[in-house]
C-alpha cells in the first residue's frame, strides 16, 4: 500500500513534468528542448513569490500560468512560425525545432543565471507530514499530486469534450487535412504551444515545493518529460498521463523492494521495452 501511494505521488510529479511537452510536441509539433528550462522558470517564479512576499506557490500559479502562456505564445508566433513555414516535412520541422529550442534553452539558462544566480534554491512550504493509512507523507507532495490530477482531468475533458479541444486533436493527428477542413492550424498550434508552456511552468511552481533546483537543472526535467511523452505515444495525452504513473510506480517499487540504486535502470529498461515492442508508444497509432 505504501509503495502504491508513494509511486502514485511520484507519478503525479512526472505528469506535471510531461503534460506540457506533450501539448507542444503532439499538437504544435515542436520538439521543445527548452521545456525543462520553462519548468525551472516556473520554479524560480514560485520561489521568488514565496521568499519576497510570502505568497503561497499555490497562489503564485495564478500569475505564473498566464505569464508563461503569453511568453510561449510569443515564442511560437515570433520564432517557431518561420520554422513551421519553411519546413517541407514533419521530420525537417522536428530537426529544426530541436536545434532552435536547444539554443533557446541556453538563453533561458543564461537569463535565470543573470536574474537569480547559479546556486541551489530550496524553500519549505507545507513541509509537514500528512498521514494516510497510518503512514506519513509530505503534504506538499500530496497537494502537488492533487493539482496534477486536476490538470490531467481538465486537459483530458477539454481535449475530448469541447470543440476547441477537438480541433486541437485534429491538428495533432493530421495538420494538413485539418487545414483543408477550415481549421486555423497556425493559431491552434500557437495556442497549444502556449498552453503547453503554461502547464509546464505551473508544474515547475508546484514541484519547487519539494525539489531543490538551480538555473541549469532544466535538462534533467526535459529528458524525463521526453522519455514519458515518447513512451506514451506522442499524439495522445492519455498516454503521457498513464506512463507518468506507471513510471512513478515502477521506480518506487524497484527502490523499495529491490534497490534504490536501480531506479534509473528500471526506468530505462521500461523505455527500451516499450520502444522494442510498441515503438509508436502505448497510445500511439501505428503508421501505415
Amino acid at each position: 500500500m505504501d509503495i502504491v501511494i508513494v509511486g502514485i505521488l511520484l507519478g503525479g510529479a512526472y505528469a506535471l513534468m510531461a503534460m506540457g511537452l506533450q501539448l507542444q510536441y503532439g499538437v504544435a509539433k515542436i520538439m521543445n528542448l527548452a521545456n525543462g528550462e520553462m519548468l525551472v522558470a516556473g520554479s524560480f517564479a514560485a520561489f521568488w513569490f514565496f521568499t519576497s512576499a510570502q505568497v503561497s506557490p499555490l497562489l503564485a500559479i495564478l500569475v505564473v500560468a498566464p505569464m508563461a502562456f503569453i511568453f510561449n505564445w510569443l515564442v511560437y508566433k515570433i520564432f517557431m512560425r518561420y520554422l513551421v513555414k519553411k519546413a517541407r516535412s514533419e521530420g525537417q520541422l522536428e530537426v529544426n525545432s530541436i536545434l532552435s529550442t536547444f539554443g533557446q534553452s541556453f538563453i533561458l539558462v543564461g537569463l535565470m543565471l543573470a536574474l537569480f544566480g547559479g546556486e541551489y534554491f530550496s524553500y519549505s512550504y507545507l513541509e509537514k507530514p500528512y498521514t494516510l493509512f497510518g503512514q506519513p507523507y509530505e503534504l506538499n507532495r500530496v497537494v502537488a499530486f492533487l493539482f496534477a490530477i486536476f490538470f490531467c482531468c481538465v486537459l483530458y475533458f477539454w481535449l475530448n469534450r469541447t470543440r476547441l479541444g477537438l480541433t486541437l486533436r485534429a491538428v495533432s493527428v493530421n495538420p494538413e487535412a485539418s487545414g483543408l477542413v477550415g481549421i486555423d492550424v497556425p493559431n491552434i498550434s500557437a495556442l497549444a504551444f502556449g498552453l503547453g508552456g503554461a502547464v509546464t511552468a505551473v508544474g515547475g511552481s508546484l514541484l519547487s515545493m519539494f525539489l531543490t533546483f538551480d538555473a541549469s537543472v532544466g535538462v534533467i526535467f526535459t529528458m524525463k518529460a521526453l522519455v514519458i511523452v515518447i513512451m506514451g505515444g506522442v499524439r495522445d495525452i492519455r498516454g503521457t498521463i498513464l506512463v507518468a504513473f506507471i513510471l512513478g510506480l515502477t521506480e518506487t517499487a524497484v527502490a523499495s523492494l529491490i534497490d534504490p540504486g536501480l531506479t534509473l535502470a528500471a526506468a530505462y529498461l521500461l523505455f527500451i521495452l516499450i520502444l522494442l515492442f510498441r515503438p509508436e508508444g502505448i497510445f500511439g497509432k501505428r503508421s501505415t
Binding site: 547559479g118 546556486e119 541551489y120 540504486g261
Partner: protein, 400 residues
C-alpha cells in the same frame, strides 16, 4: 562623404586609442589572473556559492589595496574568467587558453575534485602553481609525487569517512548512541568513494551497518530510502550525499520522523541555503566540513563576503577557497616577481596566515583541515578536524 563628415571623430578616437595603449605601460603594472569553473551545469550550484563570490571578493580587495606588491611596484589584478559548463573537456580547453592565448601570470585552481585532476597536467606543463581548494581524494600522495606544482588543502576521502566514525564513536563511548548505523550514498564518484572508504572504518570502530543502499544522482523522490532506513531503526543515519539529495533526504527524514541521535549528510549541509531552508530543524545535523566561525579573521571574512557579493559564504570550503587566494598573494609578494617556479617553491616551504588559520604544506599537502561540522544555534561549527583548533563537542540531535 561619410568619411569626411566623421573624419575628426575617427581621428580623435584613433589618437585616444593610441594614447591609452601607451598609458598603462607608463603608469602601473598589472598582473593577469585566470579563473575557470562552472557557471552552468550540474556543479554550478556549488561553485556559485563557494568559488565565484570569493574570486570577486579577493580581486576587489586586492585592487582596492592598490594591487599585489611586486619589486617593480604594485600590480593590479586583471581577471580573466571562463565558464567550464561542468565539462572536463571544456575546463581543459579553458586552462590551455588562459596559459597560451591570454598568457595569464597565474591561474586560480578550478572547482571540484575531477576538474583539478583533469587540468593538473596543463598546470604542470606551464609551471603554474595549482593550489587546490575543493579537491578531496585519497590519491593526494601519488598526485603530489607526479606533479611538483600541485597543492592539496581540503583533505582526503578516508579522513572524511574516518572522522564521521570518530564523532559517532565518541557518542557511542559516552553511551548516547548504540552501534546500529544506516548508511546511504549517491551513486556518483564522490559518494561511492566515501561509502567504500567508510565500510571498513565503521566496522573497525565497532559499528554495525544495518542498512547500506545507494541511489542515482538526481533522484526526484528519496522517500523509499528514508522509509527503508527508518524501518531498520538505526541509532545513526549517515548519507554520503550531493547537494540536491542532501536537501531531499533531510526534508523526507523530517516529514517521516526519522528520529536518530546522530544524523549526517555530506556536501551542502554547510551551505547557508541549508540552514535557511531548515531553520531550527537543522539544529544538531552533522555534515561534511565545518569551520570555526567565531575567530576574528572568520567573522571579518563573513562580513566582507556579505558586503561585497551580497551572499553568505558556506561554512566549509568557501573559507578554504579564499585561503588559497591569500596563500597565492602572500607567495607572489614574498617572491616579488611573476616567476611561477619561484612562487611554487615559496608555497612549498612556508607557513601562511589565512582566514582558516595557519596553513603549511608537508610534501605539498595541508594536513590540518576540518572534516565534520554540526549545526548548533544557527551556525555550522567544526566538531572534528585533523588538527585545527576550536573544535566544538558534537551534540546529540534533538527530535525534528
Amino acid at each position: 562623404m561619410l568619411y569626411k563628415k566623421y573624419k575628426l571623430t575617427v581621428v580623435s578616437i584613433l589618437a585616444a586609442g593610441l594614447f591609452l595603449s601607451f598609458f598603462p605601460a607608463v603608469n602601473a603594472d598589472t598582473i593577469k589572473i585566470g579563473a575557470s569553473a562552472p557557471k552552468t551545469g550540474p556543479l554550478a550550484g556549488g561553485s556559485t556559492v563557494t568559488f565565484w563570490p570569493n574570486v570577486k571578493l579577493w580581486v576587489k580587495q586586492v585592487n582596492d589595496s592598490g594591487g599585489i606588491k611586486l619589486k617593480s611596484g604594485k600590480a593590479k589584478i586583471e581577471l580573466i574568467e571562463y565558464d567550464d559548463r561542468t565539462n572536463p573537456g571544456e575546463a581543459i580547453k579553458n586552462i590551455q587558453r588562459l596559459a597560451t592565448q591570454d598568457k595569464v601570470d597565474f591561474i586560480l585552481a578550478p572547482y571540484g575534485t575531477g576538474f583539478n585532476l583533469a587540468t593538473a597536467p596543463i598546470f604542470a606543463k606551464f609551471n603554474y602553481p595549482l593550489i587546490t581548494h575543493t579537491a578531496i581524494t585519497d590519491k593526494v600522495e601519488a598526485l603530489t609525487k607526479r606533479y611538483s606544482n600541485i597543492f592539496f588543502t581540503l583533505g582526503t576521502t578516508t579522513d572524511f569517512a574516518g572522522s564521521v566514525a570518530t564523532v559517532l564513536g565518541k557518542m557511542k563511548a559516552a553511551g548516547t548512541i548504540g552501534n546500529k548505523v544506516a548508511m546511504v550514498n549517491v551513486a556518483d564518484a564522490f559518494g561511492i568513494e566515501l561509502a567504500n572508504a567508510a565500510r571498513p572504518i565503521f566496522k573497525k570502530a565497532g559499528f554495525d551497518i544495518i542498512y547500506d543502499k545507494s541511489y542515482p544522482l538526481g533522484s526526484p523522490d528519496l522517500s523509499p530510502i528514508i522509509r527503508g532506513a527508518k524501518g531498520v531503526k538505526p541509532d545513526a543515519f549517515v548519507a554520503w550525499s550531493y547537494p540536491p539529495d542532501t536537501f531531499g533526504l533531510t526534508a523526507q527524514a523530517k516529514v517521516q520522523g526519522l528520529n536518530v541521535k546522530a544524523y549526517y549528510t555530506a556536501v551542502a549541509t554547510a551551505f547557508p541555503a541549508f540552514g535557511g531552508k531548515f531553520g531550527k530543524s537543522a539544529e544538531g545535523i552533522l555534515g561534511a566540513g565545518g569551520i570555526n566561525p567565531d575567530t576574528k579573521a572568520m567573522k571579518d571574512y563573513f562580513a566582507s563576503h556579505k558586503a561585497v557579493t551580497g551572499k553568505t559564504p558556506d561554512y566549509w570550503a568557501s573559507g578554504m577557497v579564499y585561503a588559497t587566494f591569500q596563500i597565492l598573494r602572500t607567495a607572489i609578494e614574498a617572491v616579488g616577481t611573476k616567476d611561477r617556479k619561484a612562487v611554487t617553491a615559496y608555497v612549498k616551504s612556508n607557513t601562511f596566515n589565512t582566514v582558516m588559520g595557519k596553513i603549511s604544506f608537508t610534501n605539498q599537502i595541508n594536513k590540518k583541515y576540518w572534516t565534520v561540522g554540526q549545526w548548533q544555534n544557527g551556525k555550522f561549527y567544526g566538531v572534528s578536524s585533523t588538527g585545527r583548533s576550536g573544535e566544538k563537542a558534537a551534540k546529540v540531535k534533538p527530535k525534528w
